[in-house]
């Protein structure tokens, strides 16, 4: 991969360059509270765009998978019925996307564009999306207490699936190109060639920041194995289910959740619109069929489902990545501590119960 060096003061010029190339650039901004958010860069707010900002609760997933996607309009009158699809194909760049969210977008790519059917709405939104990944290097602001990309193997520095990656080396930044489009940016004069010392410095910083993560989920591989085998005790799922308030917050902030529901609404006389809306497997109605039968009625069955979808080998092989990217958002939003690391921990603790069930004959 090609890398270049740029001055600290020139980093936001990348936003300018992208805007000159007619990209709508989305960047992190700081809200009045602790929360950051992604917003479109304008001439007015350009200088307030943040490079080192805690990853917003609300993932950039919505730029490829909006909460509400307008699928098509149905117009009918005098017995004539026309179905007219609506497509959005924006030219967008996300500046400051974190490595975990880059992995999230890759997971969505595999899911929506892979398999037997391709999703045309996702495909069009993804087509011109340019990703400027920023490596989290600041323990105070960027590396949150809940972050565990290090365990999910998605960060702190993504290895692929970005167009351009920026990393703070102190006075300078290192830019790594992850695609031909990213490499083309290096033609601009803000980028200059570096030296092997820069590469050494990058490695040293990465080695250092890997030690800054607080959340430990070193039991991930065992949890994946247990979930895949179905060997987690029903009792453990029940304990997890008892904690869940069924708010759906975890799925709402998850960069790798893909489920949606579809709804029709009237938009005028003889005119309807079909939209798809984010949905959550935490909610009781997710599997409820007409007539009332609900095969996954119990809360713990629904929690089981979420972690099965995220961790089972079958899906990891299919999507080539785990449906958990280690961003820690589910931890941050959960009222009752049923985020991914806690669930992995509960699975670990339950092994003591599994020991008791092990048949053993000693005499």
């Amino acid at each position: 991969m090609k890398a270049r060096i740029l001055d600290r003061s020139d980093v936001l010029k990348i936003v300018d360059l992208l805007r000159e190339q007619e990209y709508e650039v989305l960047a992190p901004f700081r809200g009045r509270g602790r929360d950051g958010y992604f917003d479109a860069v304008t001439d007015e707010n350009r200088d307030r765009a943040q490079i080192h900002e805690a990853n917003p609760y609300y993932p950039p997933k919505r730029f490829v998978l909006p909460h509400i996607e307008h699928l098509f309009k149905i117009r009918g009158s005098n017995g004539d019925l026309r179905i007219e699809p609506e497509y959005q194909e924006p030219r967008r760049a996300i500046f400051g996307i974190r490595s975990c969210d880059v992995a999230g977008i890759y997971h969505l790519d595999r899911f929506y564009l892979g398999g037997q059917f391709r999703d045309v709405y996702y495909e069009k939104r993804r087509k011109h999306l340019f990703l400027v990944n920023v490596v989290c290097t600041q323990p105070d602001s960027e590396i949150g207490d809940d972050c565990f990309c290090i365990c999910a193997d998605t960060g702190p520095a993504a290895r692929e699936h970005f167009d351009l990656q920026l990393m703070d080396l102190g006075d300078e930044y290192m830019a790594v190109a992850g695609s031909p489009a990213g490499e083309a940016m290096f033609a601009h004069s803000i980028f200059r060639r570096g030296s092997p010392a820069h590469i050494e410095k990058r490695r040293a910083i990465l080695a250092q920041i890997r030690k800054q993560f607080k959340t430990q989920t070193s039991w991930f591989p065992a949890a994946v194995r247990y979930v895949s085998q179905g060997s987690i005790l029903e009792q453990t799922w029940e304990e997890i289910g008892k904690r869940c308030l069924e708010c759906g917050g975890c799925t709402y902030v998850c960069p790798a959740c893909t489920c949606f529901t579809v709804s029709d609404r009237q938009t005028g006389p003889d005119e309807f619109e079909r939209v798809r809306i984010w949905d959550s497997c935490a909610l009781g109605g997710f599997t409820r069929m007409a007539g009332g039968h609900n095969p996954r009625k119990a809360v713990h069955d629904r929690r089981n489902r979420r972690f099965f979808r995220k961790l089972a080998h079958y899906f990891i092989q299919r999507e080539l990545s785990m449906a958990c990217v280690g961003c820690g958002r589910c931890v941050a939003v959960c009222h009752c501590d049923v985020g991914m690391p806690s669930v992995v921990e509960m699975i670990r603790r339950a092994t003591a119960k599994m020991d008791k069930l092990e048949p053993m004959e000693i005499s």
Partner: protein, 282 residues
């Protein structure tokens, strides 16, 4: 139609309702065709056991099994009125328009069963998705050995496709064994649950070279499976078609997942061997 629109997996195509036939209480059969003849020709490539997504605009979309065999000329759905979408379909009159997309799902591999005995076990409206296979088997009668149907409903009035069943029996090509939970005036047949038919001498099922198609309410499913396994049916020779809440039909919306399987693309047809390994109860 533009190539762009052709790729859109969510886009239904306009369909026209031809006629409606009452079956049993709250169940009707809807004969229909696509407005676009090319669409009709493509759709007609469906296999027994596949399903389609039916759109009622302003209301929503629901998955519906395809009871006709591809060997029949007419295309139809048999739908029980249970929710808002099916109720809206029931309100339609001939020549009204709605929309359909599909066919979706794997379907029953009827060619793989050539040379075998076919045993259909259905309860209530569980006969609807199996009808396609029964008619297919009749049309390819020389390809199969013995064909038996074991079918039960709560009352005689709730037996689906009764005229079809009588015709099939009369043809001599299929052995039909019917039962009801509660008899009514004029019912001279068996009274009892579906698996009670297996205990009758004429209900003896050959196991060695047979495929059992099972479809019905969950409780019936459990008992029938238990009996079939006890008779010696290998798990891989018991097939069923599952139903789930579905929004897309193409493996994206996530609603129909059972363990590792998306019912819409990996199913809806599964062998009992597969059902047991899904990783979640059905």
């Amino acid at each position: 139609m533009s190539a762009q629109a052709a790729e859109n997996i969510y886009l239904p195509k306009v369909a026209i309702l031809d006629r409606v036939v009452d079956d049993i209480a709250e169940v009707r059969t809807f004969y229909w065709h696509f407005e676009d003849p090319a669409e009709q020709a493509t759709f007609r490539q469906f296999r027994p056991g596949q399903f389609a997504q039916v759109s009622l605009f302003g209301i929503g979309e629901f998955p519906a099994s395809l009871p006709p065999s591809p060997t029949e000329t007419e295309t139809f759905f048999t739908i029980r009125q249970v929710g808002s979408c099916t109720a809206a379909l029931h309100r339609l009159k001939p020549h009204d328009k709605f929309a359909v997309r599909g066919p979706y799902g794997n379907g029953f591999p009827m060619e793989e069963y050539y040379g075998m005995d076919l045993v259909f076990v259905a309860g209530g409206i569980g006969l609807i998705p199996l009808r396609s296979c029964v008619v297919y088997a009749l049309q390819h009668r020389d390809k199969y050995q013995r064909v038996q149907i074991f079918y039960g409903a709560k009352t005689p009035n709730e037996l689906m496709y009764l005229p079809d069943l009588r015709d099939w029996e009369k043809s001599g090509a299929i052995e039909c064994h019917l039962t009801v939970d509660r008899a009514a005036d004029g019912w001279s047949g068996n009274v009892g649950v579906v698996d009670s038919l297996f205990k009758r001498p004429e209900g003896k099922i050959p196991v060695e070279n047979a495929i059992a198609f099972v479809c019905g309410p969950p409780i019936m499913f459990r008992f029938v499976i238990k009996d079939l396994l006890a008779m010696g049916f290998p798990e891989r020779n018991i097939v069923s078609t599952l139903e789930r809440y579905m929004k897309c039909g193409v493996g994206k919306c996530g609603h129909c997942c059972i363990g590792v399987a998306y019912v819409c693309v990996d199913g809806p047809v599964f062998t009992y061997e597969q059902i047991k390994r899904l990783g979640e109860d059905i």
